[in-house]
Amino acid sequence: MEKVNFRTQVLTGHLQNHRHATTAATIYPLPCVSYVPPEVSEQPFSFDVSSMRKLMDGHNLGDRDWLFNLMVQSKLFNPRLRGGKVFVVPDYNHSMEQQREITMKRIEYLLYHGVFEGWLTGKGPEAEMKKFALLEVIEIFDHSLAIKIGVHFFLWGGAIQFFGTKRHHDKWLRATENYLIKGCFAMTELGHGSNVRGIETTATYEANTGEFVINTPCESAQKYWIGGAANHATHTVVFSQLNVDGNNQGVHAFITQIRDENGNICPNIRIADCGHKIGLNGVDNGRIWFDNVRIPRENLLNSVADVSPDGKYLSAIKDPDQRFAAFLAPLTSGRVTIAVSAVYSAKISLAIAIRYSLTRRAFSITANGPELLLLDYPSHQRRLLPLLAKTYAMSFAGNYLKLLYIKRSPQLIKTIHVVSSAFKATLTWHNMRTLQECREACGGQGLKTENRIGQMKGEYDVQSTFEGDNNVLMQQVSKALLAEYVAAKKRNKPFKELGLEHMNRSCPVIPAQLTSSTLRSTQFQNDIFCLRERDLLNRFAAEVSQYQEHGESKESAFVVSYQVAEDLGKAFSDRAILQSAIEAENNVKDASLKNILGLLRSMYVLVTLEEDAAFLRYGYLSTDNAADVRKEVAKLCSEIRPQALALVCSFGIPDAFLSPIAFDWVAANSWSTVQN
């Protein structure tokens, strides 16, 4: 007991020394640093944090909070007491098998509490928005959990919804929503990923039995990375080359059962594990081989094309290219959710790193003076605050993308495809970069998995690969822009899609002298982003046509023009993000919110100008301009600095979903916590 008393006294001393710091420091050095909550040390907020959260989360706030509540109140979500607060973060020290098991248990808990009600049977924009909101909350807790749920509802369920017809809907949607069956999505193969049209699995129709025969003809055709396949899934949508009457009709999707109700693997199906991964170990990725598996004709998902009982191939869309595009269009929802979740991941890491930087000190710059808070170093501000500003801009971009997807129509298919490709790539790259910077900004503490950021690098890395490799997607963006360009020029008509309307106006002129107020004006910011996109599109078109004139095919011309294509993709993406940020800002009435959003927007633009070499390379900015931009970025850093805490508090991520270093990390690491 004496020992306990002693410890308590030591601790009390540490915790109370702040109050007497001035007198104590003159007599003896402080025994150790104390934690002062940033809420106490920082200035009062200059804007209403809950209004900002409303603007950022955008929709279904009550539903989000409800789901956070469900997770916080269950032992399944691994609540841990650290420094006087409870945190819910998965235990990443669990083995792969344990992570998979607990992930499935968490799904069952959410199912029991009605979280998934209406996810497939609900209709209309409201049901879709609610589903998005809840998935975002799940993602804030754990990426594995969200992906496992996403595969079941968005990929398997989405395939039934969009590729299937009434007979499939009636049979599978409710059963899926209630997890009576567990679905997976077998598209990728060992030999083919992004190039879906090259897959090698076959489905051959036999008119005499009225069945399709699904077969894996060679090792490179084994289905690979199939989430849910290794342990739990009972059914899959398998993508195969359809052979009818000796003719290959291209890639089609078929429902195949792979496990019975007791979890035993079905005859003629072989399944193997993909093994331990750098992250997402709660998801049981597996490999599947089909050995001439027979399925009824009705299992063809036939919204785009069908096979009649007597073996006739029927499709309203004659052109195989168009058929394929129409077929895959609904899968955009995956890219939408990935893009949005990348922003939430960036928010988590910034909230943790910025809160830590407002309480952790290092080095004093005056003799005997107190050590400086990390975020009071301009260099630390420059590391984190531009990423914060970008995250804000991309958060609005994510909201815009969601709305675009919700109001999808045949006219919007192209726009949705291009914007979702661009945002998926840009936002997930931004997240990875943010995670790395935040990890480093937290020093050694960033390495502990309980502090989330370091672990999230592994958990989120996959985002730049799945649902379309980021580089491939960006090339598709440039190609689509070029197609728009060619079409407009050929018909001599104005641009009216993909936000290219600015190409119809005269070329913007950037002033030779860039003052602070010019740099911060939306006019200039819009102009410089449009100028870059316009010029790069012109250059890309010129380069491709030049290659074509020299006898290269269109495809090989694209391949060799990759440098401009890359710059162009970025230019498109940044301009579209800026526009959604400006729109969000314009819709705000409250002056204090508008004010800070303006600063963030300027920071987003100026730091982009500073970082993308294209502006200097192609001369959109002079070297003098670039120097002005750099100065302004530093100025913006110091202006945003006092609002940093309020800005991360507005992310709407409950304390419990951050980490111990975001709060009292001294108490969280005290000896008394070791003894317990």
Binding site: V4, T8, L15, V36, D48, N69, V72, Q73, D655, A667
Partner: protein, 380 residues
């Protein structure tokens, strides 16, 4: 220590070595917390925190109540005779007291030997130790009064196991000492006959160490059996139903359970919910749900916004109607407006969580509490 003349006796103060014993002293009003009482307590707590000779605070009530709640009748009188901002003064002071207690660096032992309701919970549950007895009677009855569980209840109710807090806060359930201990509202149960011995032992302990205090109380405490009809036996149903997203869904889930089997507990719970103010139910649920994700300070700031909106009465005047029906006319037949749950829209609920549109109005300005020990925050 300056205090208002003639009114200091609403809180009696005893000094026993390093212990201060504060006794709430309005027995005829069941120790209802008046503005004077709340102010006096705040003054005492702040002074004791600065006073190095004080190690422990014991808080108890005179008579058969610990504290039956805030003196709401007086608040309503002030509002109807003057302005709602007079009411705001009371709540501001009360919530600051709650915050100081929740972040207090020295242990507070509250002896809950009688009625503990509303504001009474506010001055005890935030403290480190809560001692229940066979005479304890706990409730947060606000939804039946057109109010909502305030005094930081969105913080402490939401931290009870599972969704028990929703049940207690929405249905206004009455809990006895055994139930308080079982759900964590009380930290100890001591038979009332041993209270004076406990007091002596605590004074002798002469310590601020939570471990020492806890061990001292444990010497007199026991774990009582839950009564047969205790809500604690319905935990599974409580978790299943009160975890639902909305009030409507909660009631529907309870009705489904009731349809499955005849059950007095379920039907009386449904009755309590149906008798409560629809507006109160909706804002209370949202408050508890937000509270579960926030620290105690943010909870109190939000609740202060809410209570000001309630008093301003722009969206609903249920608070005044509830006080009329329960406290003044005592006809127990309030006419709620809106009268049905479905008439209370999301927008209306939203308004209670927004700032008051008034130049003079300010959010609750909590005192800056430096160096709060972590044990002071995590009590439940």
């Amino acid at each position: 220590m300056a205090s208002s003349f003639g009114e200091t006796d609403q809180v009696l103060v005893e000094e026993k070595s390093s212990t201060r014993i504060f006794t709430l002293n309005r027995p005829k009003q069941l120790n209802a917390a008046s503005f004077t009482m709340v102010s006096r307590l705040l003054e005492l707590f702040l002074a004791c925190e600065e006073d190095p000779s004080v190690k422990l605070i014991i808080l108890k009530g005179k008579g058969r109540a610990f504290c039956a709640g805030g003196d709401v009748a007086a608040v309503v009188r002030d509002i109807t005779q003057g302005h709602w901002k007079l009411g705001a003064n009371f709540f501001r002071r009360e919530f600051i007291l709650n915050y100081v207690m929740a972040t207090y660096s020295k242990p507070q032992v509250s002896i809950l030997n009688g009625i503990v309701m509303g504001g009474g919970a506010g001055v005890s549950i935030h403290g480190r130790f809560r001692v229940a007895t066979e005479n304890s009677l706990f409730a947060m009855p606000e939804t039946a009064l057109g109010l909502f569980p305030d005094v930081g209840a969105s913080y402490f109710l939401s931290r009870l196991p599972g969704f028990f807090g929703e049940y207690v806060g929405l249905a206004g359930a009455r809990l006895d000492g055994a139930e308080m201990l079982a759900c964590g509202l009380a930290t100890h149960f001591v038979p009332s006959e041993k209270l004076s011995l406990l007091e002596d032992a605590l004074c002798k302990a002469d310590s601020s160490d939570p471990a020492v205090i806890s061990a001292t109380i444990s010497e007199f405490s026991l774990v009582p059996n839950l009564k047969e009809k205790s809500a604690c036996h319905w935990l599974n149903i409580i978790n299943k139903c009160f975890s639902r997203r909305t009030i409507e869904e909660i009631i529907l889930a309870l009705e489904r359970e009731a349809a499955d089997k005849e059950d007095e507990w379920i039907s009386s719970t449904i009755q309590s919910l149906k008798k409560a103010s629809p507006t109160s139910l909706k804002i209370s649920l949202r408050s508890i749900r937000e509270g579960r994700l926030q620290g105690v300070g943010k909870c109190l700031v939000r609740e202060y916004r809410m209570v000001c909106n309630v008093m301003q009465g722009e969206t609903s005047k249920d608070f005044f109607e509830g006080c009329r029906a329960i406290l003044v006319d005592k006809d127990k037949n309030p006419k709620w407006e809106p009268s049905k749950l479905e008439q209370v829209t999301e927008d209306m609920v939203d308004r209670y969580f927004s700032k008051i549109n008034d130049e003079d109005w300010e959010d609750l300005n909590l005192p800056r509490r430096l160096n709060i020990p972590p044990h002071a925050i995590a009590k439940l």
